[in-house]
Symmetry: D2
């Protein structure tokens, strides 16, 4: 397949140069590669950082023009040479967008997500905000059509971060505290609820996010009894209310998910986790350093465990995520806006405005 396609492109390494283009060449799949026709793609927080040309994101861009985007689903359009058992044309798929070396200790022991030679699509190679994207065949993940609508297939990469976070501790019957109800926090809460967590506490500062959290809390409480979901507005402090509720309800939170990157949130979590509990760390702070308050008391004497989470276990997380979705896990409430790819600017505006969780772009 040859020709031109629509795509969201960084034209020059400078602010304001990311826009929809109509004339990008359709990629040609090379040795061991697969070309995928993109059906839908999700906007990630890191895409916003790119769009705003923040140092944390722009430094990963190695060259221009560069097509951005790294969450999507699509259909196999063409298979390059040298692919063993190639997927049939039209196969419904997503793809892991971290390309790893395949030869290091991590890659050869099922931990490709921490390979030191990782190349990230949408940064160092062309991404998926486009009509077509090519990826290594070994990164392609076939999807079950009936369990995963396009709208959800669009952001499996992000859902994988949430699922990976929940793989650190068996959450059945555990109480959890989610710090930050962005898309990842919303998905983490949904997974925790699905696997039987007992008592889900959510702390947020944004009014839109709080409303979404409360909406979800109501929907799941109707469906199932139990301790339920409690949402806390901490925009003006008020962590005491969480501590009081936790003390009354579960005597200390078993697992904290720090998904905001805020130093205050992390220290809240350290105070609220029970002795012997777990803190799962995913949020990246704006500053380089992070101060842990009362380290001796809150980390050592409590005997807690902290887990850094990066990417998705390759490919343990993918299999687990698909199994959860096939089993009935529902996450489509996380999508708050949908746009055609050509309206990328509108999607980014919605996301930047703060009144959104996950924004999905469709090719049509």
């Amino acid at each position: 397949m040859t020709g031109r396609m629509r795509a969201v492109v960084i034209r020059k390494k400078e602010k304001g140069s990311i826009a929809v283009a109509e004339d990008m060449p359709i990629p040609i799949p090379g040795q061991g590669e697969v070309l995928i026709r993109v059906l839908a793609a999700g906007i990630c927080g890191s895409d916003r950082h790119l769009y705003n040309w923040d140092p944390s994101a722009r430094d990963w861009i190695n060259d221009t023009p560069r097509i951005i985007g790294h969450e999507f689903c699509g259909e196999v359009a063409e298979v390059g040479p040298g692919v063993p058992s190639p997927p049939a044309e039209g196969t419904y798929v997503s793809a892991e967008m971290h390309e790893t070396c395949g030869q290091c200790f991590h890659c050869r022991t099922g931990q490709g997500n921490i390979c030191e030679k990782t190349i990230i699509y949408g940064y160092q190679k062309d991404g998926c905000f486009a009509e077509y994207v090519k990826v290594p065949a070994s990164n392609v993940i076939p999807l079950p059509r009936d369990a995963i609508p396009h709208k959800v297939g669009a952001f499996l990469d992000a859902l994988g971060n949430a699922v990976h976070s929940t793989q650190k501790v068996n959450l059945a019957g555990r109480s959890i505290l989610v710090l930050g109800y962005g898309p990842i926090g919303a998905m983490t809460a949904a997974v925790a609820h699905f696997v039987g967590a007992s008592g889900i506490f959510i702390a947020e500062v944004g009014s839109f996010q709080l409303e979404k959290a409360r909406e979800w809390a109501r929907s799941v409480s109707e469906e199932r009894g139990g301790v339920g979901v409690k949402v806390f507005d901490v925009s003006k402090g008020g962590e005491e209310a969480i501590e009081d509720t936790i003390r009354d309800t579960s005597g200390g939170v078993d697992v904290v998910f720090e998904q905001s990157g805020s130093s205050r949130a992390l220290n809240d979590g350290l105070r609220m986790v029970r002795n012997g509990g777990h803190i799962v760390l995913l949020g990246i702070p704006g500053t380089k350093d992070m101060t842990i308050e009362d380290y001796g008391k809150n980390v050592i004497f409590k005997g807690i465990t902290l887990h850094g989470v990066i990417g998705r276990r390759m490919f343990k997380t993918w299999y687990h995520m698909l199994a959860l979705l096939k089993s009935g896990l529902s996450v489509d409430h996380v999508v708050t806006q949908e746009y055609p790819l050509s309206d990328f600017d509108k999607g980014m505006a919605a996301f930047n405005g703060g009144e959104s969780l996950k924004v999905v772009l469709f090719n049509k």
Copy 2:
């Protein structure tokens, strides 16, 4: 408290000598003991073996008269001397009915359930089919009234066996096969569903049990989508249908729960589990020996793990079970008959007739 009480008693070590008595002395709690007024109690399969004076159960009886029964809930009636932080009178409780030595490696490392000096109430000491029962204070488990109705509190010991089975492997997103839909199988399926298992296959031979399994399958499928629950009648063979379904649906079962004690069931499980899967073993066969067919192929080459399950982790399983119940786990559908304690005979008749899952006796 002194006086006489109603209880189900073994009068003599011979068949047919188990009956309701009205004149048993109310136990007096000794050093470190608590007297509990029984509210409700569940009949266990081992009680039936006692009732029928089967060798497997009768050999555990050390003396007569002996009050039987070892699953119950009640309220604290009196506390003996030497109990630190004694529970208040009227506290709603259940109790672990395995009394362990407290001093061996197992007891001191959270594995009291495999203590070699275990004394079982209802066998070596008086049990709970009575108006009152006394137990060591350290075995008492306070229960939350709003999360656990008496009807369910009545059989937490049995539910603990099922929960312990599910603690061997994280079941979220896993496919499972339950071999035998007796009370333990029914509860295992319920817990697995609650914690997000993906694809629950149930094989049974009894028509009453099959009907109950199908009833439950319908009820949970309405509530949640996904792969769902599939029930198979294997009374006339027909394991091929299970194998076909498993192959189509999940490509091999992740975890098998062998809860029937049948050699055929175990070997079915070994064939149907996927490479690298797990078999959780709880069923006790009628015969001493168990033959594993095609051992090299089904155990070694498959690289599977087999887990023997006995009792409840003391007290990890109890905490986990209470957390699941507080979280919304529902198991009251497992109770198929309810009787007053005075109608113990009717309860046992129902149980013996095979048209029951869990039978609960109430004091009123």
Copy 3:
């Protein structure tokens, strides 16, 4: 490289047709393959089964002529096309001789050893009892020259089976019972000792093996104090002596390694393991079925775990094995005979005669 080479070949699918040939073509590495000049190779028990044309082994042979052998070390001689980051010529290497599909759940989650599409070199493709062997580049394992002499590099595949067995349970401070002191048993004992096992019991029936076990026991007792190693001759029964010693020394064995394939050994292990202990299963019996005696008592009531072990975790076991060898693990005492490849018949005769542990063939 082209030309003819020496190799041990199955000429026809019949007994007595395995012999050294001088005229086999040197393999030509294809897409993604590496040609390795073999330095040394170990004879495995399965090679003996092939040599004796036993059904268990011969049925795996798909075609003739077939070069046998699947344990070796060598040097990279030539690299085929399409190998990313190809190893330099002369690199000292071994190789995993299970070729797996790379696309299934197991392969993509670090469990290639249980891939259902495994192809085994020396059976379904040509093996390493030859001057040269070709394997997929992704199966090649670079070796550190100073930590691994050729004599040991020759049987890393087998050592991997032993190391994989020891990966099932952390053995530091644990007591173990090794049932069968063949090459795998000898290596398992050595690894267990190296990682701090406390009390190593070995049961054997062969007089040569018993002598080797006692020799090793003496050598390690001199080096380190502690409970030490105890060797038991069970050729005429005598398991009671083991039970007595275990009872006195450790109150029950923490971990049993069943590496003989004998039904009697497995049942000995089930009796001797402590409550809550582990049985690691690797031995393949001559018969299809395996009878577990007193299943209820020895498996369920004991609450034990049984682990089937097949191959080597790909590639977790390889990394772990290399780390142990670099750390100082010594296994060269397992080699009891060394021959040039041309004397393959003598090596096999020594192995068949029973007066050997590991026999190594050298190319020179």
Copy 4:
């Protein structure tokens, strides 16, 4: 037994009031208690903080006079009433000196070390720098006389901290970095070496400690080959040398033990640990807060796990520690000075002077 005894006592809550007294009353064992004749006791870093009346330690003292000390071995002298299966007089024992509530979630699940109601002997109750000490019978640990000399029995509490640290990750074949070669660091290194760690890196600032580390490194390198032990003087910086060595030898450290409480050490560890590695945290800093540098890069993107360690798993760590000692673990090189109890001042002076690892006091 009644009478007066020698003991090290805090007379008044002020600096300089800790001294040897000859007239303390011998404790009388109450309900469930055991009186132990102390044979030997170790001085802990926290005893030094008490001696120097540092805020971190003095705030734990609830009353005076208070006998200090919490590491010891001795012989049972007398058993109070109500002790089931009381130990025989003269039994060689040590004791866990954290008294826990026995009733909370942690206590009932084998994690008494994080009980929120812990009472520490030597702070809130009288300790073991005395001729006699009384403790709850359930805290007493019988010791094997031939595996544990008094000199080592004297500091099992501290060894337990080191062993607990090593229980967080299976260290066989792993490379480790020990930050701080005080007594705990020295013991951690010894345990890691004993269980087969591959590459042990030690960083220290004190010249005495460095000499001791190098002495030990030489002694174990002679006994066993392998990567060995490398000691680094970081008193004037020089972490680059460690990083270079780690890069060459193992490509990143698998497990870091932070046992110094220094912020610089923790951040060194975070930089030097490999992706996916572990940091075991035990050192308590002098300041309340701890700053993690480059948190996103070193914690999240590396996908590491951090483990806070407090006390000893009750009683899993004790059993594991005894098993290691019986197996041959040697730690007596950690004792650098021995004094009679009456020379407590000299012992403390040696410890305070910095020219010591573990100082042991003997009753004679």
